[in-house]
């Protein structure tokens, strides 16, 4: 910033203080430490890339900056002044703008109306559309994305919508712009244009925080990289002093200190065969085979298509092409009901939204896929259901008050055990675990690992999706790596491999 623009009477300390300082930020949710002692410094006209594994704490940190969460400890300073960001409105008024992957635009309103939403240009109680539109047109031109600002947002391309978000931030005189994986939804030429826009913002003196996974892009756009690991800062380097493999190492560089149970059994013959499975951009022709008694890991970054692939195998989404064979029988799955009947079970990553009906009792959640077993002459035998529930709950060591307890009142680990219990009772031959240990404490994790081993030892096929690479390496007998809807690699001996190898394939 040129000295002439600075307000007069500033003392020296303010003049040299950075745009944004976050110091010693700590935050925990329900006893789980999400962030601890995180420092973040952002200068004017700087693009800071924030990197880390899924769950490393990046979004929590940004939510604290954006006013969605209050930190348990630590402080925020804007140009050297302590600030309290206790609501998203406060953040906005302080000049902190967030652009999420899911845009916050109202589809039916025009680009200009969205840019000025909540701060309309009003004269005599009437909105001055022309003024808003010409102002928006100026902003868009400045960003190098000229298009008609009276177009409703629902008719804009993704890239155009993104530029509307950025224009809104600029019109609100944002000083700090946070972008959460902005390139994930864009085509390569659009990414180029986005970078030009980011460059424009940098030239205007804004501080930008760029969350991203794609290393190439980081090296292209960022001035500095900060890496979070397990909620703690793992390093911060200027981009020109940083090498690709060092960055990957820094992201995943946690020592393999977690305990995984010893595996006894060995994979048997091939049972599940998936060939040329396709659905849109998420899954683009995936082929693989899985053996009975094998824990097959599916690695990749968020959005790589792992969950989408699992949903196709489970019939939750329809595949556009490709076949699934189980024990030599070709399955045509039009619904999860058919997949379940064929012996496939799916533990979704989001237990609360997809795995359980949280307001219902744990016993009826357990019973839901198994009701046919308890039905005689069209009537349910509730006693039998409860007996079966108690038996499986005992096997799973489910901590519970009684079968009538609401599922929402279980802890995360116990909810996961409940979901596993219901599939155990179903006696599935193929079990897909999507992030089986997310949000689960270490003790419960170990129990779930043991269970997965036990199931594999029975000759079942276990597909495991996990974003925790140590877990992947510790649990899987074989790992398939996905990137942008395709299989990009295979690790046949995880025990002798390392996280770096997976990461290399995942960022392809």
């Amino acid at each position: 910033m040129p000295a002439s623009q600075r307000p007069k009477g500033c003392d020296l300390s303010e003049m040299i203080s950075p745009l944004l300082e976050m110091r010693g930020i700590g935050k925990s949710f329900a006893g789980i430490q999400a962030l601890k002692g995180v420092d973040l410094v952002l200068q004017e006209g700087e693009v800071l890339a924030l990197m880390g594994e899924n769950g490393a704490g990046k979004s929590t940190l940004m939510k604290i900056l954006g006013g969605a969460h209050l930190p348990d400890e630590g402080e925020l300073k804007l140009r050297g002044n302590r600030i309290l960001v206790d609501s998203p409105q406060k953040a906005r008024s302080l000049g902190i703008a967030m652009i999420y992957q899911e845009f916050n635009l109202i589809p039916a309103l025009s680009a200009a109306e969205n840019v000025f939403l909540g701060q309309e240009i009003v004269q005599h109680g009437l909105i001055q559309h022309e003024a808003q539109e010409s102002r928006t047109a100026d902003l868009l031109k400045e960003l190098g994305m000229p298009f008609d600002p009276s177009t409703p947002c629902q008719r804009l391309s993704i890239a155009q919508q993104q530029s509307v978000e950025i224009a809104r931030a600029l019109s609100q005189e944002a000083q700090i712009l946070v972008m959460d994986e902005p390139s994930a939804v864009l085509t390569p030429p659009e990414v180029k244009r986005l970078f030009a826009i980011i460059d424009q913002c940098r030239k205007r003196g804004l501080g930008l925080i760029y969350i991203g996974h794609r290393l190439d892009e980081i090296f292209e756009i960022a001035d500095r990289v900060m890496v979070l690991r397990d909620g703690q800062p793992a390093g911060s380097f200027p981009i020109d002093q940083c090498k690709r493999h060092e960055l990957i190492h820094c992201m995943v560089g946690r020592p393999m200190d977690q305990e995984y149970p010893k595996r006894k059994g060995h994979p048997g013959p091939v049972r599940l065969k998936v060939s040329e499975l396709r659905r849109g951009k998420a899954v683009q022709g995936v082929c693989f085979e899985a053996r009975g008694g094998e824990i097959l890991g599916l690695a990749g970054l968020v959005g790589a298509g792992r969950t989408e692939l699992a949903r196709l195998i489970f019939g939750a989404d329809r595949s556009e092409a490709g076949t699934i064979q189980l024990d030599g029988r070709t399955l045509s799955l039009r619904s999860p009901a058919e997949a379940i009947a064929a012996g496939i079970g799916f533990l979704s990553e989001d237990r609360k939204l997809q795995g359980l009906i949280t307001q219902h009792s744990i016993c009826s959640n357990f019973g839901l896929p198994n009701l046919d077993q308890f039905t005689r002459a069209g009537l349910l035998n509730l006693g039998q259901e409860e007996a079966s529930f108690n038996q499986y709950a005992e096997t799973m060591q489910l901590k519970r008050h009684g079968p009538k307890q609401r599922a929402s009142h279980l802890s995360g680990g116990n909810q996961q055990k409940l979901v596993i219990a219901k599939w155990l009772a179903r006696r599935c031959e193929v079990l897909i675990f999507d992030e089986p240990t997310r949000g689960i404490d270490v003790g419960a994790k170990y129990e779930i690992y043991q269970l997965m081993h036990a199931l594999a030892d029975e000759g079942k096929v276990i597909l495991m999706i996990s974003s925790e690479l140590p877990e992947m390496l510790g649990m899987a007998d074989r790992i398939l790596v996905m990137h942008q809807g395709r299989l990009t690699g295979e690790i046949t001996h995880p025990a002798s491999s390392n996280q770096q190898a997976i990461m290399e394939m995942a960022v392809a």
Binding site: S335, A337, L353, L356, I357, H360, L368, P369, L371
Partner: protein, 451 residues
Amino acid sequence: MKETSLARMSNLLHALGDYGMVVMLLLLGLFFSLVTLTEQQPTPEVGARELAQRIKANHNTDSVVWIVIRELATDRAFAESLQQELNESGHEQIVQVTGLPRDARQELEAWQQRGDHIDIIAGNEITSNWLVFSNLEETFPGIGSPQIYRPTSYRWPNFLKQDNLLNITNQIAVIAIIAIGMTVVIISGGIDLSVGSLIAFSAVLTCLLIRDWAGSLQAGVSAMVLCSLIAILVSAAIGGITGGLITFFRLPPFIVTLGMMLMASGGAYLLSGGESVYQIPDGFVWLGRGASLLGIPNAVLMMAILYLFAHLAMKRTRWGRYLYAVGGNHEAARLSGVPIGRVRLSAYILSAALAGLGGIIMASQLKSGAPTYGQMYELYVIAAVVVGGTSLSGGEGKILGTLIGAFIIAVIQNGMNLMNIESYTQKVILGLVILLAVLLDRIKQHGFRAH
């Protein structure tokens, strides 16, 4: 401090839980019983028997008895019973005096002139209180000093009279039956606004079929049953279309059923040409007005049986469980293998079929079918379901709760009628009660905090 007492109160409400609405119904019953507590006269037969007992106990068989009645069927029944009772116990000098007070006076004068005496004058609560008999010793000294007998009255709430209670259940039958379907739809996470119009549609269709196809006034029983079944099937088919649009095209239930509501109502007017159809045989009223078992109205019996089945189906069948699951979290239900499409479709078909049945019962009660039937019924039905504790967001609720809810609404309406409260005021109070019920439910679920 305030927080904890509020929390304690919401805990209490929660503990009341399933029984809260029953308690509310009982309290309402108690309230209306107290305010409608009035002097009640026994039925003619019962009163006569009790009166005869007293006469026998206090008088010899040779005493002269007058039975004074008006020229009314009930009075005559009273006199017959009394005379029979007295005759059986050996009384022979019994005279029935029938007519107005003037006739009684003439008869008294005649007896005085003849020098005959009277020992007992027995009448019902009206005749025994005629002024003529108030001062006999002075006005007619020649007839002796007769004792006046009247049946003993008792205090009993009008609300709790058997007729009234049967009346409530009979009136609620249509709403309660339709509310079964509505409960099922709401538990599955939807809503059905078309039921009121389907009542009219089905009533008109049934009556038209009987008039134009089954032989009008000469229609036989099996023909009438067949016509009713056709109307129910047509209603179910309409429900199938509604459910199909909602399930397979993912249209919002509110809008689809709103459209169906207008179409069914318009259809009923078109079919009937805007007139009511009444050329149907007397036998048709069997369902709505008849009472074949222990004096219980047939419609009430049918309602009870349907509730029993529905309760069993919701609690003890896979279909019932699936309904709750779909309404609770349809994605989780789908991923647990629930055929969510079929389950939701079935809910709308059931709701429409029961609305069709409700229309037939109403046509039977009123012995005609008119396109004006069932207006606003969808709202009363939804109110019954919600008051009965079913959550409009789906996944929670009980069939028997709905029955209680229907009764709560009926009892309030009936009680207010007994208290002679104006119909406009009744509407306001009913609305308040519905709001209160939902508010209590909300507090029960989520406590007192706004968010």
